[in-house]
Symmetry: C2
Subunit: 357 residues, 2 copies
Amino acid sequence: MIKTFKIVVLGGDGIGPEVTDQAVRLLREMEPYLSGVKFDLAEHRVGVGEYQRSGNALPESTFEACRTSDAVLLGAMGLPNVRYPNGKEIAPQLDLRERLQLFGGIRPIRLYHESDTPLKGYGKDEIDFVLVRESTEGLFYGRDVVADLDADEAINELRISRVGAERVCRLAFDLARKRNKAKKVSLIDKANVLSSMVYFRHIFDQVAKDYPDITPEHVYVDAASLFMVRKPDAFDVMVTENMFGDILSDLAAGLVGGMGMAPSADIGEDAAVFQPSHGSAPDIAGQGIANPIAMILSAAMMLEWLDHTETHRAAVALETAVSEVLSDPSHRTPDMGGKMSTTQLTDAVSSSLQKIL
Amino acid sequence: MIKTFKIVVLGGDGIGPEVTDQAVRLLREMEPYLSGVKFDLAEHRVGVGEYQRSGNALPESTFEACRTSDAVLLGAMGLPNVRYPNGKEIAPQLDLRERLQLFGGIRPIRLYHESDTPLKGYGKDEIDFVLVRESTEGLFYGRDVVADLDADEAINELRISRVGAERVCRLAFDLARKRNKAKKVSLIDKANVLSSMVYFRHIFDQVAKDYPDITPEHVYVDAASLFMVRKPDAFDVMVTENMFGDILSDLAAGLVGGMGMAPSADIGEDAAVFQPSHGSAPDIAGQGIANPIAMILSAAMMLEWLDHTETHRAAVALETAVSEVLSDPSHRTPDMGGKMSTTQLTDAVSSSLQKIL
Ligand SMILES: CC(C)[C@H](C(=O)O)[C@@H](O)C(=O)O
Ligand SMILES: CC(C)[C@H](C(=O)O)[C@@H](O)C(=O)O
């Protein structure tokens, strides 16, 4: 019995295609070692290039392919100099999140080598937490509103729905259970000031009752950002509103080497998109020096999510290979002060992987 | 000709009175050295204690005193275990900001000793920027909304007004001019997604035209939080929306020793409140170990703001004294791993000050 996983590959813009190529290469290399598993990898058009070609950054055929896939691998989308007439950037990943109801933005943060962190006193694996960002509402709820630059004011709404808060809190508690570390979930809110956050906290507390084995905790978002730089090892799983999650996940990535090191998954009930936290980095696109690690780790998250014994084994192997490779601090791309090219670093992961599988 | 400055002192809750006492003491000690300047210091009731006594955390008499004062020195307000019936904390500082239209939250961030920062590679004065937080609207605009916990959703509004954005941007540019360092103002926004931020950016750009000697810059809030931990020396003056400013200013304080080191000023057209960035810290209240530095530096900001040659001289003297004292890393309270008490540290500042004045 062969299980074929339908994986949509969206390279996107800037360095997006360069890094997705590396992930695709590693998936193809792993395939023969996995018994009973095949990857049906299909590239689709998306992003700024597609917007300029067809006027639609997320063509319906691409969306349909994503909707009916087992998982989507996404590189990066958007370019600072190409915008919609309303001034906002082209970010079809936001449309995917909303249309596929990818409510859970999972952003694992892990330190692979002490030289990667700007913080004093932290070594390998001593920073290790996951941030879960609600990704369908919150302050991003207002993202379709168009600015009237001549008006006297501009307003956006921050929306927390019961359904939205509940499902993302459950996801966070499930994750804490699965991680089996501190078994703690920290809700990052601003319940001392905002009613939407009092509401969020109320739902979080209700969900927490179903997880007696997990310790729930409340941290104000301002305090959380301070703790992150002073005691990042105090966190296990954090869950928060969309905008707070956007801010805190970049900050968190900064603690372990920057956006090039930070994978992410946008998870829904029956769809999931895996993409590095970094953007399209047009300044280095085409030079072959983009950091492939965030993308490769995103592919590992995908393998974990696909929920098959063999993909789970592959996920662990891929993470282990990355961890081994990165334990040598000269295995770095220029964004991290290293000298390796995108393919050289992937080569290193690839050889390590062969030995593990 | 004697100029008497009317200063309202609001000790507030927890460690608030302990730290304001230190600032008041230093002001009294400086007074005889300042020619033609007197301080009329008057304490007023405010905060949780007052809420429990009279049901009003900000009595009208206190508000009137603040309104008609030259400046307000505030300790800390609120206690986590005492809340309004709607679940929110007692935070009359927010009422003061709104009612006195204290639109500019000025939060200077400066590193006094390398041992105070969790970041590698930064020494004395190598982190030195100011964050200007809009403090009357933004996402805090919705703070009076009451949560309906049985509803299907909860919504808060983020509001940017033309007047509000313009005045806070001007304040930031004026500050950059006065600081005379990199002469740069970074607007921290999310204009790639939110219309209110497209609007804010538009107004920022208009204001920037009046300051040809200052370099304006746009940084997305997520990227800004990453830059703060990876390249904090890239910033000079930052200006941002209320909620973003709340998050980023705590993060920034974390880079230089924590909330006990971070002074702040809430500035309006004709009123101003000076208070440490820290809260009431009930866990250490009454033990005499609260860090007085943030409060003392807030008093220095007040002296600077009072706009008199002699108070300016006093401001510089006070800052210099603090800087001198802190250049010895054993001059620290327990929150920073030190052994000094609140009064011991203030004593050190006081002796240093005598020599300077
Ligand atoms: C590109 C941008 C719209 C996006 C976001 O803000 O969600 C990005 O910052 C992210 O974190 O995925
Ligand atoms: C106490 C709280 C309401 C306040 C705020 O969020 O404004 C505080 O965090 C601050 O930064 O002054």
